[in-house]
Symmetry: D3
Subunit: 143 residues, 6 copies
């Protein structure tokens, strides 16, 4: 990392990657069909075992077809959930990344606004339910 600080640790560059790290970097680019390794993975590579653990989990959950597994969720729905979680947590890196993903999957700016409206609304009702300590309604069992 020559010029600019991008994390509290020095990310591993693609050129410097060897062994397990190089293999994961290659799998990330192939699975996601992208031409660079995003910063998150380059930072996690400072501990190669951790990199592999997070990547294999993300691959299994977000790219089930690449793992030979069927999914009942649409890829866009998975990315919308990722964005909703990231927005609620206020994670800058993740909001940027998942906004790019939902846009790439076809969600236009107006529909993004609908997603955000739902995210914003339930951040209100969550805080209100907690603020008044409201107990769950008694509903018939779910199953």
């Amino acid at each position: 990392m020559s010029a600019k600080r991008i994390a509290t640790v020095t990310p591993v560059s693609e050129e410097a990657a060897t062994g397990k790290v190089a293999a994961v970097f290659a799998d990330i680019k192939a699975t996601k069909n992208i031409t660079f390794v995003p910063n998150l993975w380059r930072v996690l590579a400072t501990n190669p075992d951790h990199l592999e653990l997070v990547w294999t989990r993300l691959k299994a959950i977000m790219h089930p077809e690449a793992c030979g597994r069927a999914s009942k969720l649409d890829p866009l729905v998975r990315e919308i959930i990722a964005l909703a979680v990231s927005a609620t947590n206020g994670c800058a890196y993740c909001v940027n990344s998942h906004t790019a993903a939902v846009r790439k999957l076809g969600l236009d700016v107006e529909a993004l606004g609908e997603v955000m409206a739902v995210v914003g609304l339930f951040n209100t009702t969550n805080s209100l339910a907690d603020a008044y300590q409201i107990e769950p309604d008694i509903l018939p069992p779910l199953e």
Copy 2:
């Protein structure tokens, strides 16, 4: 509220509701096609103006068709977002309510597990991106 405390304030019962509160209660039951008024709304009714404000927002965002507005999001997707936000915030009332809603809209227990897997995964990557203070990747502009 005779027997059991369900909030930090005494919820307004359906029988006691008058005026603006009675009108909102009726609209909630009609719009959501349910036979009772959930605790959240009975508690908000302790300030009728606030009840009306929250309900009209929720109706507009979650029931756009009832407001004569088209939506690009599927009702199940909206409820999945609501559940993802509520799970991330750890709101007991809301998790119970939105789990019931997604189940009613047809999401089975295994697919619910897929939703939760995505929620859990990005709570990890959110914390990792923040933990290392990773800066957003430089991507081509979104629009």
Copy 3:
């Protein structure tokens, strides 16, 4: 603690308190003009140094007059802030405690609804500002 679990550790009872713990317990009851020691303090008493550190800080901030210090904030405003923070964090113990406090200081149920409306509103706008990663407006310097 005979019958009922109220925390992950056994709270110190008022009868069992000695030395530093007994002194803090007495100061809590005198300063707050209450007849019992709330659970929070009985639990913190499992580490007497920590009990003292938290109590002396709370006393200084929430009861400045008892420390011979003037304050520019009204006691009700301080408790409203405490409630807003607790509601936003979803802390059951604290929401109950600070709701009781604001009510005791004269905030009626309708005005409590106004406080909650503000809390709920800004949990929405906070999540929206983060969700879109909106940068601060450029304003004239504050000082």
Copy 4:
């Protein structure tokens, strides 16, 4: 958005606003007595219905007098609550905006420190009450 990225979407400029968006922009400037439209609203304008929903709700809660409604809360208290919520959520945009608002309403830097002391204190006690899973004290009913 020519030079500088300020959000994940391109904000609507005041010059480009028409119809519903232009009307809301005008109402924001008139109600808040400001000469520009803050970034939040320009970003929300990418979905005009959402812009209108958030603005009319904020106007009703934060500017009740402009809606012909009486309020039991002082404008400064409302902004202090907004700041406490924003600080607890760690929302950069909102902290900047509401700090400017409380300062404009007369809160000096030292009194701001008192507000922050209360915010900081209860972020501690909230985490401690949760950390030990302390159950609420049994108090006489609030109403």
Copy 5:
């Protein structure tokens, strides 16, 4: 689950477990040297793939020796981190579980109080740093 609701879905009992679920349940009990399967795993078992993903990650991170991997962290330190995260998030299930774990590993009630003091303190300074939007100090590079 006959008598008591313990989650929004019906947990899988040890008796009903087959195939992948039974194998993971057995591994959990062997690795953790416990005689029952905790509720978390019984609930995750409603989606067997998800159960396996979470368990294999937790096993790799929290029980590296069982995976033939060396670790630079002490088991008690790992559980203390788990408790600190759970307390900060206010997760009831996790606080209970990890408090039990640190106690089993020898942390007494007074030392637990020291851990909690650190957790509580930095929930304050975190909120203060965010509340004032304080920028990081410029420090020499970490590496």
Copy 6:
């Protein structure tokens, strides 16, 4: 603050510090064995009483030996807890500060990865336990 904005208020410079503020600044540098006053303290100094309260708490908890008090926790463990809390809260200032501290105390980049793995893992399980509203396991009493 001439050139660069580093907070919503103007930090107090070391040169401008007098009385209580100067004394705390000197104690910070002596206790932490550093040659400058970090931004956090310079900002808190805008309310000298608050500066003193936060510093004396932090000194007592993080530097017990400087207060003549024994501790059962290792200094590195205390800083690891601080980092875990800061990462979970996503506090930029604090993550930077505590990462520097754990590195200075000898934690290398790979071991930091292990800490982060634990932080990331339990942010998942916390959200899953909340997402399914899982009740605590019934365990034998802790004491």
